[in-house]
Symmetry: C2
Subunit: 208 residues, 2 copies
């Protein structure tokens, strides 16, 4: 067995359609549509034109595929928040960029995120402590972003940091379920619209 | 076999801890924690102190339990939106009541909603057309509520109705994952805070 399950996020992002990514993406598409448990390793092998021994040469078992899918999802989000910090300086730009890029990343890696979130019960029942630590670090990073925007006087002090993080997390994360590439708007446009609504309010100012 | 799977929403709501509801709730708690497929009917039977034949006397199979859980979840949401219309007249009160009661209902029936949303892949692969029709009707009802609030001049005309529905749906629905009864705030308080943020915006007016 080669060390496919050790694939780094950079290797994954740089290898669409080839190498370990080809198998991970095929597995994620199958798991997303039918659920993790009902899909067999033979079906994953067939989806990428490998024999069953050929697939097992790369992957020890189906759980290793699930674990990599969940790890890459977590790393994608942490990378996203690092990029937002690196590419934007002021709190206003950062908040908008966070919402836009979260929509983009969930939409572009919809199979990975759907599997990760859909299979939470399985992932938490196994020994996946690393994953929940990544998720908690991500939520902490978002709270930090919000707090910095409050300190800069951009976000209202009376908006609860934790609840605002949960609101943003949910309105954007739920896209794993409803986003369709065939829709009218690109993910960054949806993210922009979401941020505009939450930033400035949807109620007519006169009535607010 | 008795007709437990035909249980109505009113019977369900009026029978905590007894009758068909006792079995449905025990099954939902198990499915939520460990996923639908890994849980056996024997485990469901044990959770309510029945023998396996005793359980099968009430339920033909495990899929019937899942179908009832998903149907009740859908009916709870349609009932919720009916109640909002019945109990509140003006668009402002209705929007706030919708967000508050959605948080309440997801929190109070967290096992049912978690199972329904977690097992979407299984539910959609089987012949559950009724469920997706209920979900679409719910989304249509929310869009209707938003449109009425726009026509009344309460919600800004430039807020996209469909995207606002998705934003509300996601920020409140995601609570199935993070809500904990041990938290500081009650569900209606969280719903209130969410609506206040989205209604009036989280950005300082001077900067908006």
């Amino acid at each position: 067995m080669t060390e496919s399950h050790l694939i780094t996020l950079d290797d994954y992002l740089g290898s669409a359609g080839v190498g370990p990514r080809r198998i991970i993406d095929a597995a994620a598409a199958l798991f997303r549509r039918r659920g993790f448990i009902p899909v067999s390793m033979i079906e994953v092998a067939q989806a990428v034109g490998l024999s069953k021994p050929g697939l097992y040469h790369h992957w020890p078992n189906k759980e290793a595929l699930l674990q990599v899918i969940a790890r890459l999802s977590g790393e994608l989000l942490l990378r996203q928040i690092d990029d937002v910090r690196k590419n934007f300086d002021d709190p206003e730009q950062r908040m908008r960029a966070y919402v836009r890029t979260r929509l983009e990343i969930v939409a572009h890696h919809q199979d990975l995120f759907t599997v990760t979130w859909q299979e939470r019960a399985l992932l938490s029942s196994a020994s996946f402590g690393e994953l929940s630590r990544m998720a908690e670090r991500y939520r902490q990073e978002i709270r930090q972003l919000i707090d910095e925007a409050k300190q800069a006087g951009f976000i209202r002090k009376d908006a609860d940091t934790h609840l605002l993080m949960l609101a943003l997390d949910g309105m954007t994360g739920w896209a794993y379920f409803w986003y369709r590439e065939s829709g009218d708007l690109a993910p960054d446009q949806i993210g922009d619209a979401f941020w505009n609504m939450l930033a400035h309010g949807v109620v007519q100012p006169a009535k607010a």
